[in-house]
Symmetry: C2
Subunit: 411 residues, 2 copies
């Protein structure tokens, strides 16, 4: 088996010229002109490989290579092409181009396989435009009511539903394309880690065993505005110093629970009125908690609630804590992980079972069919950013593992 | 002596109708149409009392009542009429209307006094419009070069210099009106405390012994942006958790130094990128330190610098700390304080020597002539806000003390 480096990189480059910004970042928002152009390019590439290409009602692209037995359930392999604003070249795109390269190699070598193999390019994975993520995989697994699509709008107030209609899709027809165990054997996604662990530990392949779901909190603190010069320290109800204590407690519980792979982040701290000469009267904190062990996540939530309350009582600051969203972590299929593990051993690649803190389409697919998410390292863990970068050797390892895994499952 | 309540409150009301907002706050920005209207009203009132009224080159209003000996230096008494946006009814305005009431009472009773008494309404005390405070008192004490007036601009890019010219003032002529010991015996200002101490301690009169000057710091923290889900706690360089530790150390040193009346405030904390799913990469903190003991203020600054550095080293976050401004506190004249103290004893009012954390025109005047700043309590210490409020009895006590003090000094 030989990866056609030139073909692979030409495909990567062609896609990443679409939406490239002056700063080097890529902006290919879901269902934008740029996204549609990238999708057209991929559809043409797939047709060029002799695949049968079609799109479903929410814009997922499917490109099918039949196996010996067309009645068998298909093996799906793919990722997404849309990006965050000023995003990187590899998040999603790598998994799509690698799937194409995998199918190309299988075709070139005329390798025998019984199950159909389908490349899938998921629609609207990033939440940047419509404030909802992994739309294509949610819809195709029956987890997103079509009526809901009208509720998600972009900043120009265009709904996800209208955007799909504008692009010629018929959301209601998604029912005809649902993924079910009868038509789908399994799903495999290759993705960059978007975190620093593999690079730091010098491991080539991450085999994801669980995908954490974010729990999101909003904490509103209301103290008392006062003049920074004339209000003595002992008479203050400073919302920002209360917030600072809470931020450190949130970090502490994240550290304490990190043995269970739970992480905690305060992503923003808005201060009102935010003037140099006013003791802050109000603060909004936005908190993200992720984990794969439900008990650890719940313990973390309870600690955040208790500490917030304790700190606010001590400081006579009022508070409101709201859970904005709370999803359950997804465990991935053990047999699928074993297949990937065997292939790593065969190719002599260092691997590690790990969890994914970021969400992926795999997380929806896994609820319906056996699914596997394979990570390769990215530089410094940087992602969603123009500095997103991956070593060429890591990409080649990833494609090799994807190829071996797909063949094993489709044979 | 009898305060004409009706006259006093009518004057307060007339001024505070000018610039009143729908929310009940008062917006009378320096040199705005509203400010000019309020000044016109005050000039007419003074003329009605038979005073000689004129304005200097930066718009300070002077209204003079001659005493028996016009060659003696004058006693100045007053405050300012401009407000912050959506400010209160008493900050500044109280001191002006109380000065008018004092002079009215002296005239009504035909009380003999040797020294001239001059009401002074300072121009542009608040920094809200031009980002420079106490302009009138700085200029009249020779502490503000006229050429500098062109450097301060409002949000419409109108310079303070041009705003003065537009209103018909000739800034260069300020040289003819400078306050000097030869022409000015002393200055007295009555003002609300803008802090909670007098109310809390149930004291009627605050005799200010020192005015703190703010030292302002900007701390920039640069950690590393990372995905909130995929970056483990142990590999983070979170700029916000570093900021939280620094905010608490700033509060701690303020508490430690509060026995020297030093206070510390972090007024704003800007987080970048500020997204729920991103570990914060950068934070800007804006810090205000005020005190009347130079050594305590410097010790506070050194502690903030040392702790910031220590926390950032520990967390591997880069930082830059910049001192934006640093002024020296102003000590007020002991003999003037003694006069006010005697008057409090005579009238049976509880008083307290205290410092002022907020800046006032008195702070500039005190550098040239003996000056006194007299505080009365305000409700909950609230100021610069529509909820600014003062008890009627406290206002009457303030006017009585002002009247007695002015007479004592002018007699």
């Amino acid at each position: 088996m030989k990866i056609e480096r030139e073909v692979f990189w030409e495909n990567m480059d062609m896609v990443n010229r679409i939406g490239q910004q002056d700063d080097g970042g890529i902006t290919r928002l879901a269902l934008s002109d740029e996204d549609m152009k990238a999708r057209d390019f991929i559809k043409e590439k797939c047709k060029g490989l002799g695949l049968k290409v079609w799109e479903d009602g929410v814009g997922n692209i499917r490109a099918r290579k039949e196996g010996r037995d067309p009645t068998l359930p298909a093996l799906l392999v793919g990722s997404h092409l849309d990006t965050v604003p000023h995003g990187g070249k590899y998040d999603g795109t790598l998994g799509v181009i690698a799937a194409i390269e995998t199918v190309r190699m299988i075709g070139e070598k005329q390798i025998n396989h019984r199950h159909p193999i389908e490349i899938i390019v998921f629609s609207t994975e990033e939440s940047s435009r419509f404030n909802i993520s992994t739309v294509g995989s949610k819809a195709i697994t029956g987890k997103l009511a079509i009526s809901m699509l009208k509720n998600y709008t972009d900043k120009n107030n265009i709904s996800l539903y209208d955007a799909l209609i504008d692009r010629g899709y018929m959301p209601e027809t998604i029912q005809e394309s649902l993924v079910r165990p009868e038509n789908t054997k399994a799903f495999v996604e290759l993705h960059i880690e978007q975190g620093p662990i593999l690079e730091r530990e010098q491991i080539q392949i991450g085999i994801v065993e669980a995908i954490a779901a974010p729990m999101r909190l909003h904490i509103h603190l209301a103290g008392e505005e006062a003049h920074s010069g004339s209000c003595p320290m002992s008479m203050r109800k400073d919302a920002l110093t209360a917030a600072a204590e809470i931020i450190l407690e949130i970090e502490k519980v994240g550290r304490d629970e990190s043995k269970y792979q739970t992480v905690t982040t305060t992503g923003n701290c808005e201060v009102f009125p935010g003037a140099m000469n006013v003791v802050p009267g109000q603060v909004n904190l936005f908190v993200d908690v992720r984990g794969i062990h439900i008990e650890s996540v719940l313990r973390t939530l309870n600690t955040v609630i208790a500490k917030t309350s304790e700190i606010c009582n001590k400081r006579k600051v009022n508070h409101q804590l709201k859970v904005l969203s709370q999803e359950r972590p997804v465990m991935l299929d053990q047999k699928m992980m074993d297949v990937v593990k065997e292939k790593c051993k065969k190719l002599g690649l260092a691997f590690k079972q790990m969890s994914s803190g970021a969400g992926h389409d795999t997380m929806n697919m896994a609820k319906v069919v056996p699914s596997s998410l394979i990570f390769i390292p990215c530089k410094k863990g940087i992602s969603h950013n123009k500095n997103e970068d991956v070593k060429v050797s890591d990409i080649e390892n990833g494609i090799k593992i994807l190829f071996e895994t797909v063949l094993e499952l489709a044979k």
